[in-house]
């Protein structure tokens, strides 16, 4: 079946993608908004799955409100949406191959706006792959979309604003928080205050969260991380450790041990670059933006013609900035496709860019709290699994580097690190940091070459219905 034409295909219906689609359509472009979830909202404004009701406590949350408003706006504007579709391949001509309930479909856009958000980073420790240990962002999905607790008694650990959000979310939903372990110090948080000046609402929310934890008597341990998690009876034993400003564990026998039945842990967010790497766009490493990002101008234009990036996937700047970023990409796209004159573009662009700058200040401050800390990477114990799909340990990564693997692709070949179903989305950032310890820099280590499929698809899904006669077997190889 030949691909169906469309002006702009927007991938990801979070704040960046949804606003990009709305804006592009308002500019007169024929738009298609694609997401693998059943409705718009992305991770931050996650839609409630069919058959679930929103918890009473969640009904009034600002995120639920913003998400509902966005979904209503998309419907009012009749933006064409393709939800529940898995995008598994993109051609160099930007052709998008998807698998949906009706099988295989392809679209041929003139422009592609990638707004695929981020993947959670976990700096591994012994026991991070045990059942009951999940990501902080994963916990927000449980809480937001299904009002489910990760466990009865949860240790919340890692870095960044999700710590407080998840800990208070657990309390609100009736769970117990054994402790909050924060890699940052109170001083690190204080340094983000100036950026909060523009967002009194978020400052107020943060203070409320802290008050709630205090009222519940939850211990909050700054400059602490998880040393190990072990199965203990029917629960988990969480050993903690003090860390220095760089995230490096310090020797201290007094760090407490907690009993729990769940751990939620996350060390920040990594921009999703699967699509831009697949399309061989130029990338750069920017620790403050979360890791490798596609090189892009302020309007999201990448080094590949017709390919735009927007939102946190282009570099962590937060949900509030993502909308403006999406609109900027949509305007650039409309302008580049000849649907928006230069004067109007320039006017709208200036307005959106100042709005983006205001919102991004807060997002960047949070991003700095979540940035990968060198000491945390250096402190990973040798026998700790780094690539959980393929069970590759730090010691195996170090050994391959010593044997002469000087870049991420050779490391992948020699150890299978990043070869599993997640395609390195989970381990790639930390594995890159580990290899960089041997080769000098993240730039020298590089990143995994992007490969299809972007999401695992079955042979049956791609092959469809057929008989032997339908297989176009090429002519025989020479004998």
């Amino acid at each position: 079946m030949s691909p169906q034409p469309v002006d702009a295909l927007v991938i990801g219906a979070g704040p960046a993608g949804a606003r990009a689609a709305l804006r592009a359509q308002a500019c007169g472009l024929d738009v298609l908004l694609v997401d693998e979830n059943h409705d718009a909202g992305g991770q931050v404004w996650r839609p409630i799955p069919p058959g679930f009701a929103r918890a009473p406590s969640g009904a009034t949350s600002p995120e639920a409100r913003d998400g509902d408003a966005l979904r209503a706006e998309l419907r009012r504007a009749s933006v064409r949406c393709l939800f529940g579709h898995k995008l598994w391949n993109i051609g160099t001509n930007l052709r998008a191959d998807l698998i949906g309930p009706e099988g295989s479909v392809s679209w041929q856009p003139r422009a592609l706006i990638v707004a695929t958000g981020t993947t959670e980073r976990v700096v591994p420790f012994p026991g991070w792959t045990l059942p009951g240990v999940i990501g902080l962002a994963a916990a927000t999905i449980l809480l937001k979309s299904q009002n489910m607790l990760p466990g009865h008694r949860t240790v919340v650990a890692g870095a960044g604003p999700l710590l407080l959000a998840v800990a208070t979310g657990i309390l609100k939903a009736g769970g117990e928080v054994a402790a909050v372990l924060d890699l940052a110090s109170p001083g690190d948080w204080l340094r983000t205050l100036p950026s909060l000046a523009s967002r009194p609402d978020l400052l107020w929310q943060g203070l409320q969260w802290q008050a709630r934890l205090r009222a519940a008597g939850v211990p909050v341990l700054y400059r602490h991380g998880i040393r190990s998690v072990e199965a203990a009876g029917s629960g988990l034993e969480v050993r903690t450790q003090r860390v220095d400003a760089d995230g490096q564990p310090t020797v201290d026998a007094t760090a407490p041990v907690f009993a729990a039945d769940a751990v939620t842990v996350g060390h920040g967010l990594v921009p999703g670059t699967d699509i831009t790497r697949l399309l061989r766009a130029r990338h750069r490493y920017a620790v403050e933006l979360g890791g490798w990002v596609a090189e892009a101008d302020a309007d999201g234009r990448t080094s590949v013609a017709g390919l735009y990036v927007a939102g946190d996937g282009a570099g962590i700047a937060g949900a509030a900035a993502a909308g403006a970023h999406g609109e900027l990409a949509a305007l650039a796209c409309a302008h580049d496709l000849g649907r928006l004159d230069a004067t109007t573009h320039a006017r709208e662009r200036d307005r959106l860019q100042s709005s983006w700058r205001r919102s991004a200040r807060f997002g960047h401050a949070m991003g700095s709290l979540m940035a990968l800390r060198d000491g945390a990477v250096a402190g990973i114990a040798p026998d700790t699994v780094v690539c959980r799909c393929e069970d590759v340990t730090r010691a195996e990564i170090d050994a391959a580097a010593r044997d002469g693997a000087r870049d991420m692709n050779q490391l992948k070949a020699w150890t299978r690190c990043g070869m599993g179903p997640c395609q390195g989305r989970s381990c790639g950032d930390v594995a890159g940091a580990l290899l960089a310890l041997h080769v000098g820099s993240r730039e020298a280590a590089g990143c995994f070459t992007g490969r299809a499929p972007l999401r695992p698809v079955s042979l049956a899904e791609v092959a469809g219905e057929y008989t032997y006669a339908d297989i176009p077997i090429p002519k025989a190889a020479p004998l």
Binding site: D403, A405, W414, M419, A460, I473, A476
Partner: protein, 371 residues
């Protein structure tokens, strides 16, 4: 001054360098990228006689044994695994093709027989019920090609070979007594008494450095690997005309290849898969072993394969240039690569090769069929 510089760090180049070093020479391998990251590291790892050109069967049989013994002579293995191989026929025309091709390879020493579907299913119970006939060879198997660079890197280091990676050569100046290998990017040139061009599909531009014009065709082969799944097969499978290779590794992943073509060329490398060829290759795989339909694809990639005008290898002296050699372009070159490197080295060391080389002179001025 090196005794020999090998340009191109794939299987052919690494094996040549290793055997030269073991023959007493001071050797360097240079590559524009990392060791075995092109065809030698990204191919399907099939160690079969079913897909080898008939004339290369004696070479492939010797190389097969070298791969199986890799941990002995390289000091590190590539997970080479000995399993039986089957070539499947689902139509009358394919039955004829299986008979014809089995006979031609048998004449060259491959122990291939044609068997009934019942017997084929005893070997491989999961085969499609529509099978009519199969070619069967006890000598077959596979390796994990991605480990090739690590194993050769290990062996080269121990043999004292200098491995110089990320060093793109831009020219070779050849005098009577020595060659000067010049690099892009300001790296100091290197001198050697001999040069060996082992650049896979890039042999054509490499020969042009020495003023020799031999066309080399570039095939862009698509490869597909699944996630780990339950055991669904235990042999190496191909189809009558060679356009499928299928095997399940010990880790549960199933690799689907066979040479379906993607987009790409010598300059850009592999660019992207062709959707209709992905669908075709997957259909053929899931037809041969129906249980594969449930498997999820983990990764799709491309590898470049070289082919000369007569589709036979180019292994021997560079025409008209003293002390310059070329090795490559063998069909199923991964399978026979280690042995090809050995006979190249034997020739350079002044010994009689175990089997004859493939004289490059025959290809000078020859045009590609269909070009």
């Amino acid at each position: 001054m090196y005794d020999a510089i090998v340009v191109g760090g794939g299987v052919m180049g690494c094996s040549t360098a290793l055997h030269l070093a073991r023959g007493g020479m001071h050797v360097a391998v240079v590559d524009r990228g990392a060791l075995c990251r092109e065809a030698s590291g990204v191919n399907a790892g099939t160690l079969t006689l079913h897909m080898t050109r008939a004339a290369l069967v004696p070479y492939a049989m010797r190389a097969w044994q070298m791969w199986m013994d890799a941990d002995k002579w390289l000091g590190m293995g590539v997970l080479a695994t000995h399993v039986p191989g089957l070539t499947l026929a689902f139509t009358e025309a394919e039955c004829e093709l299986v008979e014809l091709r089995a006979a031609a390879r048998r004449a060259q020493g491959a122990p291939i027989e044609v068997i009934t579907p019942e017997r084929a299913r005893q070997i491989e119970p999961g085969l499609h019920p529509g099978l009519l006939k199969a070619g069967y060879c006890e000598i077959d198997g596979f390796a994990s090609a991605y480990l090739t660079g690590r194993a050769f890197g290990h062996a080269l280091k121990r043999a004292g070979v200098d491995v110089i990676e990320n060093a793109p050569v831009e020219a070779i100046d050849s005098g009577d007594a020595s060659h000067v290998v010049r690099f892009a990017g300001g790296r100091e040139p290197l001198r050697a008494k001999r040069v060996v061009l082992a650049g896979g599909v890039w042999i054509e531009p490499m020969l042009a450095w020495l003023g020799v014009d031999i066309p080399i065709k570039v095939l862009v082969n698509q490869l597909i690997v699944t996630e780990r799944i339950r055991p669904v097969m235990r042999s190496v499978l191909s189809v009558a005309n060679g356009l499928l290779s299928l095997k399940q590794f010990a880790n549960g992943t199933v690799l689907i290849g066979g040479g379906w073509q993607g987009e790409g060329d010598r300059e850009r490398g592999g660019v992207e898969a062709r959707p209709q060829n992905l669908v075709g290759n997957m259909r053929l795989a899931a037809y041969a072993v129906p249980a594969l339909a449930e498997a999820r694809i983990a990764r799709i990639w491309l590898g470049l394969e070289a082919e000369t005008a007569d589709a036979l290898p180019i292994i021997g002296d560079v025409p008209g240039v003293a002390n310059a050699y070329v090795i490559g372009s063998a069909h199923s070159g991964y399978t026979s690569g280690p042995f090809m490197g050995r006979i190249m080295a034997q020739h350079i060391l002044g010994q009689t090769p175990d089997l004859p080389l493939f004289e490059p002179t025959r290809l000078v001025g020859m045009t590609m069929p269909g070009a």
